[in-house]
């Protein structure tokens, strides 16, 4: 198999990516994944060249810490065999390629619209008319929920097929959040516009996505950031993880009607996001991460302040956590609820917490470290039962782990240089891939430039892209009343999926 091996955030000449005929391209990539759980497809996408479509496939190997990239040129008319019929990791990717370019696949088992982008190939596909899976039966009934849900939450449509109270099948339909972000990355030429876009991909992951963007951008411009910038990004990523995990623990408590846990975890999120505000002026970390500079250097005074925040946070966090994890009424709702097995997550190709909950070790911080993660020597938190309990345990342990890393990091605050405007511009004819472990899991951004250094394509993959399928799988054979807790325990992004 011909491919090029690259590192995370390494930019290469586009011409270095081997261009194969489709059958070899398909065979090679499937072989790379076959029987190798340490490998998964981090991105597979197409883009229009003059008169055809170029497909680029990126397979990450967590053991050798490399990403294998290969490509193929196809036209949009010939019927192609699908990767998906042999490996379900590619299900979403090929749906997206089909939706964007109309490439007909002969044997894709689930070739349905993915996000109804405004520039989709087939405009006759409209969001109100999604082809849901149906079962004709007098015993079964359907429950439709959304796009507007009961709480303050993003839109999406859930269609359940139930036997009484029991869920037999769940299909999730997306697209309501589609804002055309990937195209806006090409249309908006100013760096600050693009950085703002990255911060708004998923507002709960503003730090994660903006870090993925600036890491990529600096590499694309051939610029090496000062270690102080990597320090700030690593600190911000861990704070974002802590804040979201704490908020999710609150949400899980709400969904099992444990009011005390809901209130205590809910209020414990506040000092963490307020610290982000003290640092950068925004509770969700918007405005903080910038390519080649930082407007708000991390000072020793901030380090001391964060130490105080932890001093107040830890005893209260430990107290409520000890209570929650010993509470029989809470445990009985979490244990063996919403199980996804190792085989299933491997087949789906989940990332982040949705992989680590079932014994699948996927954590970019350890496998393809960016920023300061290489020196932290991160050990992923792995659980094995794949249930709500495993997902909640991961959050509990990762919060403690993040506090540990943060204490270690702020023990020696680096000196920040005076911020200067970032003036470097992207190099021409480059390909670069940027992976960052956000709080949900792996974030992947890819970019390609043309011969004058303009962006030709900007591809974004939020961890939710694959993980939604794991939620659909998790709720099978569970009571429909357990859907909220299953959903919250995954806590996935709609805007990150719809872009």
């Amino acid at each position: 198999m011909q491919h090029i091996s690259i590192n995370n955030n390494q930019s290469i000449a586009l011409s270095e990516i081997p261009e194969l005929i489709y059958s070899e391209f398909m065979k090679g990539n499937l072989e790379l994944l076959s029987g190798k759980p340490e490998r998964h497809c981090v991105n597979y996408f197409g883009y229009k060249t003059s008169d055809s479509i170029k497909l680029i496939c990126c397979i990450a190997d967590d053991v050798v810490h490399q990403i294998f990239v290969s490509s193929a040129i196809v036209d949009a008319v010939s019927i192609l065999p699908s990767f998906t019929s042999q490996n379900h990791n590619f299900e979403k990717f090929e749906r997206e390629i089909h939706e964007n370019f109309g490439i007909p696949y002969s044997d894709h088992p689930w070739l349905k619209p993915l996000r109804y982008p405004y520039d989709r190939f087939d405009k006759s596909q409209v969001i109100g008319n999604y082809p849901f899976y149906k079962v004709e039966s007098e015993e079964l009934h359907e429950v439709g929920v959304g796009p507007i849900h009961a709480g303050i939450i993003e839109p999406g449509h859930f269609r359940f097929i139930c036997n009484g109270e029991q869920i037999m099948h769940l299909e999730i339909q997306f697209g309501y959040q589609h804002r055309g972000i990937e195209n806006l990355f090409l249309q908006k030429k100013k760096l600050l516009e693009r950085t703002t876009l990255a911060e708004n991909i998923a507002g709960d992951t503003a730090v994660g996505h903006s870090t993925a963007f600036v890491n990529l951008w600096e590499s694309l411009c051939g610029y090496t950031p000062d270690p102080s910038l990597d320090f700030a990004r690593t600190v911000a990523l861990e704070l974002e993880r802590m804040a979201n995990h704490t908020g999710d623990l609150s949400g899980v408590c709400a969904d099992i009607a444990y009011q005390l846990g809901n209130s205590v975890y809910g209020r414990l999120r506040t000092p963490i996001i307020n610290f982000l505000q003290e640092w950068g002026g925004n509770r969700l970390g918007k405005g903080l991460i910038r390519a080649g500079k930082i407007n708000f250097p991390f000072t020793q005074a901030l380090a001391d302040r964060l130490t105080e925040v932890f001093k107040a946070y830890e005893p209260d966090f430990n107290e409520i956590t000890e209570k929650l994890f010993k509470l029989p009424s809470a445990l009985s709702r979490m244990e063996k609820t919403g199980v996804v097995t190792y085989e299933e997550v491997l087949e789906i190709g989940t990332v982040g917490m949705a992989a680590r909950m079932s014994g699948l070790n996927r954590d970019i911080r350890a496998s393809h470290p960016s920023n300061l993660y290489g020196s932290i020597l991160h050990k992923p938190v792995i659980k094995h039962h794949g249930d709500v309990y495993s997902r909640v345990q991961i959050r509990k342990e990762e919060i403690r782990q993040s506090i540990g890393y943060l204490k270690q990091l702020i023990a020696s605050v680096p000196e920040f240089k005076k911020s200067e405007e970032f003036t470097a511009t992207p190099l021409s004819d480059k390909f670069v891939i940027s992976l960052v472990e956000g709080w949900r899991g792996e974030i992947c951004h890819c970019a390609i430039t043309d011969h004058s250094g303009n962006l030709v394509i900007y591809k974004i993959k939020d961890p939710s892209y694959h993980n939604w399928m794991a939620l659909a799988q998790a709720v099978r054979n569970n009571d429909i009343s357990d859907f909220p807790i299953c959903n919250k325990s995954f806590s996935l992004s709609y805007s990150g999926q719809d872009l």
């Binding site: 709480g151 708004n200 209130s263 002026g281 925004n282």
Partner: protein
């Protein structure tokens, strides 16, 4: 039982006693001040990623501003952001801050629809609709009702059904794919009803303003009762805006 009491005791007093005078920690970017200092206005205008800054005289439209603070970093003599979080108004033009403006942004009591105070002054139930929102304003609206901000103490609650609601709160730039749902949700709310836009994306489209994936027809068909700027809007911005809209004098 005793464990629970102990945990509750250890939380201490969490709620903010007076949400109208509370101070926000750190360097929150709230209402900007623009001096009359001479600067390269073309450069200042060109700097803004969302075209929120206009020249001659220099002004910032908080309905477009993402509060990234870049203008204050690069033109510190010209622009600074105060920690004043009271940014909401019922009149769109009040969100435009001009050179030399130092007055607070207010909800103009003379132009609030008369029935709002009479009918909703004691209780306002809201249905929130995210229409392309990135889950940051959604998080902050959820936070508005945590034990610290506790907006429900003022009779303001978020409800599950539009039929139980007195109005809708929209976040996000309103995508084409959500346009019909927003309209249908609004139609399901009984009359009279209010519309509140929360966040820069909802008020102007924000960074997405010129995306062909949006459909903002809803806003040209209906009049908006309250604009709540921010990216995301701070819970105190939202709470103070709603309280002013309801003209609650005693809180």
């Amino acid at each position: 039982m005793f464990d629970n009491l102990k945990i509750m005791w250890h939380q201490g007093k969490q709620f903010i006693p007076d949400v109208t005078t509370a101070k926000v920690p750190g360097i929150f970017r709230g209402r900007p001040l623009i001096t009359k200092a001479k600067v390269d206005e073309a450069m200042l205008v060109g700097l803004c990623p969302v075209k929120a800054i206009s020249s001659n005289p220099v002004s910032i439209d908080l309905g477009k501003c993402t509060f990234c603070g870049e203008c204050a970093i690069q033109f510190p003599d010209k622009i600074s952001f105060t920690t004043d979080y009271k940014l909401s108004s019922n009149e769109r033009e009040r969100l435009i801050i001009k050179e030399g403006d130092e007055a607070s942004i207010i909800v103009n009591p003379d132009t609030i629809r008369k029935e709002i105070h009479r009918l909703f002054g004691g209780s306002l139930k809201l249905r929130q609709v995210s229409a392309g929102g990135d889950n940051s304003c959604e998080w902050e609206l959820n936070s508005s009702n945590n034990v610290q901000f506790d907006v429900s103490r003022f009779g303001v609650d978020f409800v599950a059904s539009p039929r139980h609601a007195d109005g809708i709160v929209i976040t996000g730039p309103i995508t084409e794919n959500m346009a019909e749902s927003v309209e249908r949700c609004y139609n399901a709310v009984p009359n009279p009803k209010v519309i509140i836009l929360v966040g820069t994306d909802a008020i102007s489209g924000g960074i997405f303003a010129d995306s062909p994936a949006l459909n903002r027809d809803f806003l040209s068909k209906h009049s908006v009762d309250l604009y709540v700027p921010g990216n995301p809007a701070h819970p105190l911005t939202f709470i103070n805006g709603v309280l002013s809209l309801l003209r609650k004098t005693k809180i």
